[in-house]
C-alpha cells in the first residue's frame, strides 16, 4: 500500500513516455495522476493507527543489499505521514497551476511526477541507503527543473544549487557510513540503528558523525551560513519548481533532524544542541532582516523560507536541551517543528505560485514596479493577503499553530530562544510592507497590465490556503498524529 503510493507517480510518469501523447492530454494526465495520488494518501491517513514507539505503520521490507544489511524498508509514523500528505497536496496544486503552461508540458509533467515519487520516498524511507538514494535523486530532479524550465541565469543557478546540495548529500553519506560502521552488527536500517544507539559512549566519533549529518541537513534545509544557494535557485526556477523546492525539498533536510540525527545520535545531539539553537536563531533573524531588504518579490519569499526553517531548527535544537521537567515542553517544540514543516510547505508554495503570476503576467518580480494592484486584481490581492498573514503567523492559520508550539516548547526548554521572537516581528514587517507596496496606493507601473488570477490558478493557490486555514482552525486531526511521534522522539533523545 505505501509502496504503491510512493511509486504511483513514477508509473504515471512512465506512461507519459508514450510517443503520440498530446500536450493537452499530458497536462490533464498530470492533474489526474496527482489527484489519484492525493486520494491514495487520504486512504493511508484514514487507515493510519499510531504505531508503538519505535515502530512504523504500513511497514514493508524487501532485501536489497544483504551484504551490507540494507533493505528496501519503508514505513510511516507521525513525523512522516503529515509530510507525505503535504507533499501530495503541493504537487497537486502545481499540476493544476500549470494547466495552461505550454512549455514542454509532457516532459515537465514526467519530471515532476518522478520528483514526487522521490520526495515521498525520502519521507517513507526506513533505511539510510534508501533515504539517501531518494535524497540525492531529489537534487538531480530539481537540477533538471531549474536548468530546463527556469529563466534568467538558470544554468548558473542550477549549477550552484547542484554543487551546493550535492556537497550536503555527500556529507550526509559520510555520516551514514559512520553510523553503519559503528553499529554492531553493521546495518543501514533506520529502525535498528535507532534501537541500537550505536555511538553512545563514543564522544568524539559521535560528534564527527553528527557534524557530517548536520552539515548535510543544514545545506538542504537551508540554515545560515549554508543558505546562499537558495535565493538564486528560487529566482531562476520556474514558478512550480520554486513551489516544490520551497514547499517540499527544504523539508527533506529538516525532516532528517527528527528522523535521523536526533534518535540515532542522542548523546551527541544533546551535547551540541546549543550550536543548533544558535544556528536556528541566527537563521531566523538573518532570514527576516534580509527578507526586509529585498526588492525582488521572489527573493523576499525565499528569505522568508530561511526565516521559517530557522524556527524548525531552533525547535529541534531546544528539544536537545536536557533539564528536569522539560520533557513535555520539548515534545511540544518537536511537534511544533513538524507542524511548521507542513504549514510552511503549504504557505510558501502558495506564495511562490502567487509570485509566479507577476512574472508570467508582466515579466518582473521587482516590487517597486508595481502598485495599487488591489483595484486591478482583487482576487490576487485577497489570496496574497491570506498567504502573507498565514506566513507571518496570524492566529486562525496554520503558521500560528506551528510557531506557537515552537515558542511555547522552545522557551520552556531554553529561554534564550525568546530572542527569535524578534524574527516574527521583522518578518511581519517585511510581509506587510510588501503587501502594502504591491497592492495599495495608486495603480502604477506594470500593475496596469496585470490580469487577475484565473480559475485554475485560483484553485491551485486556494487549495493550499484552505488547508492552511483548516489546520489553523481545527489543528487536532493533524496534532493527534504528530504528538505521539514527538513524544517518542523526545524519549529517544533523552536516552
Amino acid at each position: 500500500m505505501l509502496s504503491v503510493t510512493v511509486f504511483f507517480p513514477l508509473v504515471a510518469a512512465l506512461v507519459l513516455a508514450i510517443p503520440r501523447l498530446g500536450d493537452t492530454v499530458a497536462r490533464w494526465w498530470w492533474v489526474a495522476a496527482s489527484l489519484v495520488e492525493v486520494i491514495l494518501v487520504v486512504r493511508l491517513w484514514s487507515g493510519y493507527r499510531t504505531p508503538a514507539p519505535g515502530g512504523l505503520a504500513y511497514e514493508q521490507r524487501v532485501a536489497w543489499m544483504p551484504g551490507v544489511n540494507s533493505s528496501y524498508h519503508v514505513g510511516l509514523d507521525g513525523l512522516s505521514l503529515p509530510l507525505v500528505a503535504m507533499t501530495s497536496v503541493v504537487f497537486l496544486a502545481c499540476s493544476v497551476y500549470a494547466l495552461r503552461d505550454a512549455d514542454r508540458p509532457r516532459s515537465r509533467a514526467a519530471l515532476f511526477l518522478g520528483l514526487e515519487t522521490v520526495c515521498l520516498g525520502v519521507f517513507a524511507a526506513a533505511d539510510l541507503l534508501v533515504f539517501f538514494v531518494f535524497f540525492d535523486l531529489s537534487i538531480v530532479g530539481m537540477y533538471f527543473v531549474i536548468a530546463g524550465w527556469g529563466h534568467g541565469e538558470r544554468q548558473r543557478s542550477a549549477l550552484r544549487f547542484f554543487l551546493y546540495t550535492f556537497l550536503g548529500s555527500l556529507a550526509l553519506l559520510a555520516g551514514f557510513i559512520g553510523l553503519y560502521l559503528a553499529a554492531s552488527p553493521h546495518t543501514f536500517d533506520i529502525v535498528a540503528l535507532v534501537k541500537q544507539n550505536p555511538l553512545a559512549g563514543h564522544g568524539t566519533l559521535g560528534a564527527v558523525v553528527l557534524g557530517a549529518i548536520l552539515l548535510g541537513l543544514a545545506v538542504k534545509t537551508p540554515t545560515v551560513p549554508f543558505h546562499t544557494w537558495l535565493p538564486p535557485a528560487h529566482t531562476d526556477a520556474p514558478t512550480i519548481g520554486s513551489a516544490v523546492l520551497a514547499g517540499v525539498l527544504l523539508k527533506l533536510g529538516a525532516y532528517g533532524f527528527v528522523r535521523i540525527a536526533m534518535p540515532m545520535l542522542p548523546s551527541a545531539w544533546r551535547a551540541w544542541a546549543w550550536v543548533v539553537i544558535v544556528v536556528g536563531i541566527v537563521s531566523v533573524l538573518v532570514g527576516a532582516l534580509v527578507a526586509l531588504a529585498q526588492g525582488n518579490l521572489k527573493r523576499m519569499i525565499a528569505y522568508t523560507s530561511v526565516n521559517h526553517m530557522g524556527y524548525v531548527v531552533l525547535a529541534v535544537g531546544a528539544a536537545g536541551v536536557l533539564a528536569s521537567n522539560t520533557a513535555q515542553a520539548r515534545a511540544v517544540a518537536v511537534s511544533g517543528a513538524v507542524t511548521q514543516m507542513v504549514s510552511h510547505g503549504l504557505i510558501t508554495a502558495a506564495l511562490f505560485l502567487l509570485a509566479g503570476l507577476f512574472l508570467e503576467r508582466t515579466g518582473s518580480y521587482e516590487i517597486s514596479e508595481y502598485g495599487g494592484l488591489a483595484t486591478r486584481a482583487p482576487r490576487t490581492t485577497a489570496l496574497f493577503a491570506v498567504a502573507a498573514f498565514a506566513s507571518l503567523g496570524l492566529p486562525g492559520l496554520s503558521g500560528f499553530i506551528a510557531e506557537f508550539q515552537i515558542f511555547t516548547g522552545g522557551i520552556g526548554a531554553a529561554p534564550v530562544t525568546a530572542i527569535a521572537l524578534l524574527g516574527i516581528l521583522v518578518i511581519s514587517a517585511a510581509l506587510l510592507w510588501t503587501l502594502q507596496r504591491l497592492f495599495t496606493g495608486e495603480l502604477r507601473g506594470r500593475a496596469r497590465a496585470f490580469t487577475d488570477v484565473r480559475a485554475h490558478e485560483g484553485i491551485a493557490i486556494g487549495l493550499l490556503l484552505v488547508l492552511s486555514l483548516g489546520i489553523g482552525v481545527a489543528p487536532r486531526p493533524v496534532l493527534d498524529v504528530i504528538e505521539p511521534a514527538a513524544h517518542a522522539v523526545i524519549g529517544l533523545v533523552d536516552r
Partner: protein, 473 residues
C-alpha cells in the same frame, strides 16, 4: 555452478575463457587476410562469438582453484574480471559496428582487442610474479598498436606516448619483479608474505613500488596516467572506450592480489591510498578545462582509477574491500562504455558545445548521456553509486576515514566537469546541425549500457552474490 576445482597440475582447461579469446583473436587475424573488406563484419561476429563463449565458459568454470602449478588463480576475482572484461569488450564491438566497419584495419582491430583482453585476464588471475609480468606484456603490446591504428596525427602522437610510457613502466615492473624474486627467493604469491617478511624492508618497498607503478600504467592511474587522455582523444572511439575500460579490470585485480599477498604491516595501504588520492585529485583538476568530450572522459577515467584504488588500499583489512572493487569495476566498465558510446554515436560533435540541443534532437541519447555521466559521479541508483559507497565504506572500515573523506570530496569536484557536458546537452535550442544523424549501433550501446547500469544498481543485491567470496589464498 560453484565447482570446487582441484589445485595443482597444469589443468589448461581451467583457462578455457582465455584460450577461447586468444583463439578468437587468431581466427580474426588469419580470417582477415581471406575476407574481402566489405565482408569483414563476419569477423566481428567471430570476435563476438569468442567473447560470448568466454563469458559462458567463465561462468560455468566459476569456483576456486588454480591452474599452471598455482601460478594462475581461479576465484571470484578472476571470474568477475573474465565476465566484466569480455562483456565490456563485447559492448566495445558494438561501437566498432559503426565506426570501423569497412575501414582498412577492421579485422586487425578485432584481433588486437581480443589479444589485449586475453592479456588483461592473465593479469587478473596472476598468482605469481612471473605470470604477472607475462600478463603485463600480453596486455600492453596490442595496446600500442590499437592506439595508433586510427592513423591520424593525434593517434600517432598518442601511440608514441603510450609506447614510451609502457616501455618505461614495463621495465620498472620487471625490475620490481626481479628485485622481489631476489629478496624472497620465490615468485609464488602464497609464499611471498613469509619470505618477504624476513627481507630488508627498504628493498621490499622499492620492489613493490616498482611493480605497482608498472601496473598503474595498465590501470591508467597516477603516476603512469599521461597516455590516457591522449589515447582517449587521439585513438578511434572504439579503441578509446576499450583502452580506458578493459585493461583497468586486470590491472586493479592484480594490484589487489599483490597487496593481499604482501607481508602485513608494511604500510602498503598508505602507498596505495596515496596513489588513489593522487589519481582522483590530479585527474579531476585536469578535467576542468577540457573541451573535447573524449579527452574529458579520458581524464575522468584516471580519476575513476583513483576511486577504484580505494578498496584496494583497504585490501585485507576490510571484508568489504573485495566486493567493493569487483562491483565497482563492473559498474565502471558498463558506465564508461556507455559514455564513450555517446561520443561515437555523434562523431561530429567534438566539443562540449556541439552537444547543445541534444535533448531536443535525440531525447533518448541525451538521457543515456545524463545517466552515464551522473553514474560516473556516483549518483544513486546507478551501480557505480553502489560501488563507490562500498569503496568509501571499506576504506573507513579499514581505519582510513581520511581516504573516505577525500573520495567523497573528489566526487563533488568531479560533478562540476560532468555538468559542463550535461548542461549544453539539455539546452532547448542548439545548433542541431552540429550533431548530425546518430549512428545506430553506438546509440543502441549507449542506451542499453546506461539502462543496464541503472538496473544493476537497483538489483545490486543479486550482483552482490556474484562477487562475494574469498580470493585464492
Amino acid at each position: 555452478m560453484m565447482v570446487a576445482l582441484q589445485s595443482g597440475g597444469m589443468r589448461p582447461l581451467a583457462m578455457l575463457p582465455e584460450i577461447l579469446l586468444f583463439a578468437g583473436g587468431l581466427a580474426c587475424l588469419l580470417g582477415g587476410s581471406f575476407t574481402p573488406r566489405e565482408r569483414q563484419w563476419r569477423l566481428r561476429v567471430v570476435a563476438a562469438a569468442a567473447l560470448a563463449a568466454s563469458v559462458i565458459a567463465a561462468l560455468v568454470g566459476a569456483g576456486t582453484g588454480a591452474a599452471f602449478e598455482g601460478g594462475f588463480a581461479i576465484d571470484v576475482g578472476t571470474t568477475t574480471a573474465r565476465v566484466v572484461a569480455a562483456g565490456a569488450t563485447l559492448l566495445v564491438l558494438g561501437l566498432a559496428g559503426d565506426e570501423i566497419a569497412g575501414a582498412g584495419r577492421e579485422s586487425e582491430t578485432y584481433a588486437l582487442l581480443l589479444f589485449a583482453t586475453t592479456g588483461t585476464l592473465v593479469l587478473a588471475g596472476a598468482h605469481d610474479l612471473l605470470v604477472l609480468a607475462v600478463g603485463f606484456l600480453l596486455a600492453s603490446i596490442p595496446l600500442y598498436a590499437l592506439v595508433g591504428l586510427a592513423g591520424s596525427a593525434h593517434a600517432a602522437e598518442a601511440a608514441l606516448k603510450t609506447y614510451l610510457l609502457g616501455a618505461l613502466f614495463g621495465i620498472l615492473l620487471l625490475l620490481g619483479v626481479t628485485l622481489l624474486y631476489g629478496l624472497a627467493g620465490t615468485t609464488a604469491y602464497p609464499a611471498l608474505a613469509a619470505s618477504l617478511g624476513a627481507a630488508p624492508g627498504p628493498a621490499v618497498v622499492v620492489g613493490v613500488m616498482a611493480v605497482i607503478a608498472g601496473l598503474m600504467f595498465k590501470a591508467g592511474g597516477v603516476p603512469a596516467h599521461f597516455w590516457v587522455p591522449d589515447a582517449a582523444q587521439g585513438a578511434s572511439g572504439t579503441v578509446a572506450a576499450f583502452v580506458t575500460t578493459v585493461p583497468k579490470v586486470g590491472a586493479l585485480v592484480a594490484v589487489f592480489r599483490l597487496v593481499v599477498a604482501l607481508p602485513h604491516g608494511g604500510g602498503w595501504e598508505v602507498l596505495v591510498g596515496a596513489l588513489a588520492v593522487l589519481s582522483m585529485s590530479v585527474a579531476n583538476l585536469a578535467a576542468f578545462g577540457q573541451d573535447d568530450p573524449r579527452r574529458l572522459l579520458g581524464w575522468s577515467t584516471v580519476s575513476q582509477v583513483g576511486y577504484l584504488l580505494v578498496p584496494v588500499a583497504a585490501a585485507g583489512r576490510s571484508d568489504l574491500a573485495l566486493p567493493a572493487l569487483l562491483l565497482y569495476l563492473a559498474g565502471y566498465a558498463l558506465t564508461n562504455v556507455a559514455a564513450f558510446a555517446v561520443t561515437t554515436a555523434l562523431p561530429d560533435a567534438r566539443t562540449l558545445g556541439d552537444f547543445a540541443g541534444l535533448v531536443r534532437a535525440r531525447p533518448l541519447l541525451a538521457l543515456a548521456l545524463v545517466v552515464a555521466l551522473l553514474g560516473l559521479v556516483g549518483t544513486p541508483p546507478t551501480v557505480v553509486f553502489v560501488g563507490k559507497l562500498l569503496a568509501a565504506t571499506s576504506a573507513w572500515d579499514a581505519g582510513m576515514a581520511w581516504l573516505t573523506a577525500l573520495l567523497l570530496l573528489n566526487s563533488l569536484v568531479s560533478l562540476f566537469y560532468y555538468l559542463r557536458w550535461i548542461a549544453p546537452a539539455l539546452l532547448r535550442d542548439g545548433r542541431e546541425s552540429a550533431l548530425g544523424a546518430p549512428r545506430t549501433w553506438s546509440t543502441g550501446v549507449a542506451i542499453g549500457a546506461s539502462a543496464l547500469s541503472l538496473l544493476a544498481g537497483v538489483l545490486a543485491g543479486v550482483l552482490w552474490h556474484l562477487v562475494a567470496g574469498p580470493l585464492l589464498g
